[in-house]
């Protein structure tokens, strides 16, 4: 945000901390010192918590790391009786369900946000925004129940047979139609993360300087062109931020996913087939896991989930950086 702002606006309206650094006067600036250190402490505490979680997960998963090594990440095997474990189906399930959910939720979420901020009357906009924020507050088990009782029958009777009939020549859409499965989980996830994308994107769109939009309109741009040329480029990093937040939620979602995904630890080509995610297997099996190796393997899955979240976020930021034209950001 800050970068775009300085580029788009004259230097006089820079964020205040940039101005302050130029005028270092005040000899009695204890308040500032305390304030700076206190906020620094807050910032460091986030780093500290993240490191402590990573360390605990690492420390408590030595047994499976010695037993399975790196092949833990690439093997498709989950046998608690023989204590032979590989995490590939869970990694696959987590990534596929989250990416599918994002593919559905980004166009929908950003589209709703554009409508609410650019096209809808003010009253409609604020009412809708309130309703969307309400969606974000619904507990995930409720989404799961809606999934089981409403979405799963719909998918089994209408959506999946339709997909099998029209797109069945692709391995992605082959039956049988159970109702539950990867696609169903992705749809539930998409519904759950749309509020994150919409709410944040709407706020970003509303903060686009009116002068930018007026300039575009003065040049004869249509509504669509204003959105495409002025609003979206200006808001790019803000939208990306909302997407990362949504992705984080999708990667870590447990209850709603486990209720509709079918819980089968298998890498299947078809999106209609049942799958499994890392968060779901943790929630399902941790309570009854007794042997040390079993428990520690589940902890290692937590570690992998943690690492994947970091990697996915890093890739996302990299893409964003590459996408930003060089003149705009420093």
């Amino acid at each position: 945000m800050a970068e775009t702002l300085t580029a788009a606006q004259p230097a006089s309206s820079r964020p205040p901390h940039l101005i302050k650094s130029q005028s270092k006067g005040n000899p009695f600036g204890w308040g500032d010192l305390i304030f700076e250190n206190l906020t620094l402490l807050f910032a460091l505490s986030i780093l500290g918590i993240a490191c402590a979680i990573a360390w605990q997960l690492f420390k408590n998963s030595t047994l499976p790391r010695h037993a399975f090594g790196w092949s833990f990440l690439t093997r498709q095997m989950w046998d608690p009786v023989a204590e032979d474990f590989g995490a590939l189906p869970f990694i696959f399930g987590t990534l596929v369900s989250s990416v599918l959910a994002l593919m559905m939720a980004i166009p929908l979420g950003v589209g709703v946000a554009i409508f609410l901020s650019e096209l809808a009357p003010r009253k409609v906009s604020s009412t809708c925004a309130f309703l969307i924020e309400l969606l974000a507050a619904i507990p995930s088990v409720v989404y799961g129940l809606i999934g089981v009782f409403v979405l799963v029958p719909l998918m089994r009777v209408y959506v999946q047979p339709f997909l099998m009939k029209t797109l069945g020549f692709l391995p992605l859409f082959r039956g049988p139609a159970y109702g539950v499965g990867m696609l169903t989980a992705a749809v539930i996830l998409a519904i759950m993360i749309v509020p994150f994308i919409t709410t944040i994107s709407r706020e970003i769109f509303l903060s686009v300087p009116i002068s930018l939009k007026e300039a575009a309109m003065a040049l004869g741009a249509t509504h669509w062109e204003v959105v495409r040329l002025a609003v979206l480029p200006y808001s790019r990093s803000g939208i990306a931020g909302s997407v990362f937040l949504a992705l984080g939620r999708a990667l870590g979602e447990t209850m709603a996913v486990t209720m509709v995904i079918g819980n089968r630890p298998e890498v299947a080509a078809s999106l209609l087939a049942p799958g499994y995610t890392m968060a779901a297997v943790l929630a399902n099996e941790f309570t009854e896991a007794t042997s040390d190796l079993y428990v520690q393997t589940l902890i290692e899955i937590g570690l992998v989930l943690f690492a994947i979240t970091i990697i996915v976020n890093a890739i996302g930021r990299l893409i964003l950086y590459k996408m930003t034209p060089q003149g705009e950001a420093h």
Binding site: V81, F149, Y178, G179, R264, A283, N284, T287, E288, T290
Partner: protein, 341 residues
């Protein structure tokens, strides 16, 4: 002034009253979720009769119960499956005793298009369905034992528990005993590598999936099926008879193995020899330290166990649990004497 005095006195009495409650000896336990309703009933009734003793039971799952009693963070544990030899080893220095409390059964539930009523499952039929070898409802192995029913030529969808559970332990233990293939390829456990099927979370998850998926089959606890009026099938027992799961046929399963009961009660009663015994039955156990370090708590636990065996068993059937057979109760009375105070 008088009023004020009266108020102070009554407040004082209330305070001492609640102090007496707070003074009650608190005994902490954790473990299985399956017996939680009966345990909380017992602990509640026992506290009413013995106000100085208060039980606090967390139903965190059998695995959690075993972990906590091994780590010595609770006074007693509870489990739907007996602790393995390896698990007893890790509880080094602390010998842990098993006491069966009640019995439960696991029943097959199904949803077949165009067919309703009680199905009979031979041992081969049920194990081959869960192995994925029998894939159609009109397979001769199923149709043969249900001549009056018209079963469809439809693919069978198997539903199992996705969460680790004592119900799965009992079911897979039963399948291991009746099928060599099952015991060599899959084995028994609270969670296993299921050859086929979808996973549902909890009894309600399995029942929900079965209800919604045409031509599916799953398994749930007897209590869950009967409380929710879900129809379930009969299983063929070792004697070759198709047995309906009832509290009586589950108790019968326990009494038919009572003669061979090991002294530590760590026994599986699936596929028992009795002619009327239901084959997918199991005990649930309380886990108690043999050597009690706290004399007061140890005495309270011993008293409770004795009460549970006599008075406690009267509450079982109302809550849907099968009571212990008399032979097992007698054996347990002797075993209680082993607890050292």
């Amino acid at each position: 002034m008088k009023k004020l005095f009266a108020a102070i006195v009554s407040v004082g009495m209330l305070a001492t009253g609640s102090l007496a409650w707070a003074d009650a000896l608190l005994i902490n336990g954790a473990g299985a979720t399956f017996p939680y309703p009966i345990y909380s009933k017992w602990f509640d009734v026992y506290h009413t009769n013995h106000p100085d003793i208060q039980f606090n039971y967390q139903s965190i799952g059998s695995g959690g119960g075993i972990r906590q009693i091994t780590a010595k963070t609770v006074d007693f544990g509870a489990s739907d499956g007996p602790m393995s030899d390896a698990q007893l080893q890790t509880a080094e220095g602390w010998t842990i005793l098993h006491f069966p409390t009640v019995l439960g059964g696991v029943v097959p539930i199904y949803n077949i298009e165009g067919a309703s009523g009680k199905l009979n499952f031979t041992q081969r039929a049920i194990s081959d369905i869960f192995l994925g070898k029998i894939t159609k409802w009109n397979d001769p192995e199923i149709q043969g034992s249900n001549p009056d029913m018209k079963l469809p030529d439809a693919a069978i969808v198997v539903v199992h528990r996705s969460d680790g559970s004592g119900t799965s332990y009992c079911w897979t233990d039963f399948l291991s005993k009746i099928s060599k293939d099952w015991s060599s390829k899959v084995g028994k456990g609270t969670a296993v590598n299921w050859p086929v099927g979808l996973g549902g979370k909890g009894n309600e998850g399995v029942a929900g999936l079965v209800k919604q998926t045409p031509n599916s089959i799953g398994y749930v606890e007897l209590i869950y099926a009967s409380h929710n009026s879900i129809d379930y099938g009969r299983l063929q027992n070792k004697a070759g008879k198709f047995v309906n799961c009832t509290l009586a046929s589950v108790t019968e399963a326990a009494s038919s193995v009572a003669d061979h009961m090991p002294a530590d009660f760590r026994v599986s009663i699936t596929n028992p020899p009795g002619a009327d015994a239901y084959p997918a039955s199991t005990f649930t156990w309380l886990l108690i330290y043999k050597t009690q370090t706290d004399k007061a708590k140890g005495q309270a636990l011993v008293d409770f166990l004795k009460w549970m065996l006599i008075e406690g068993q009267k509450y079982t059937t109302d809550l849907g649990y099968a009571p212990l057979p008399p032979q097992v109760i007698e054996m347990e009375k002797n075993a209680i004497e082993k607890i050292k105070l």
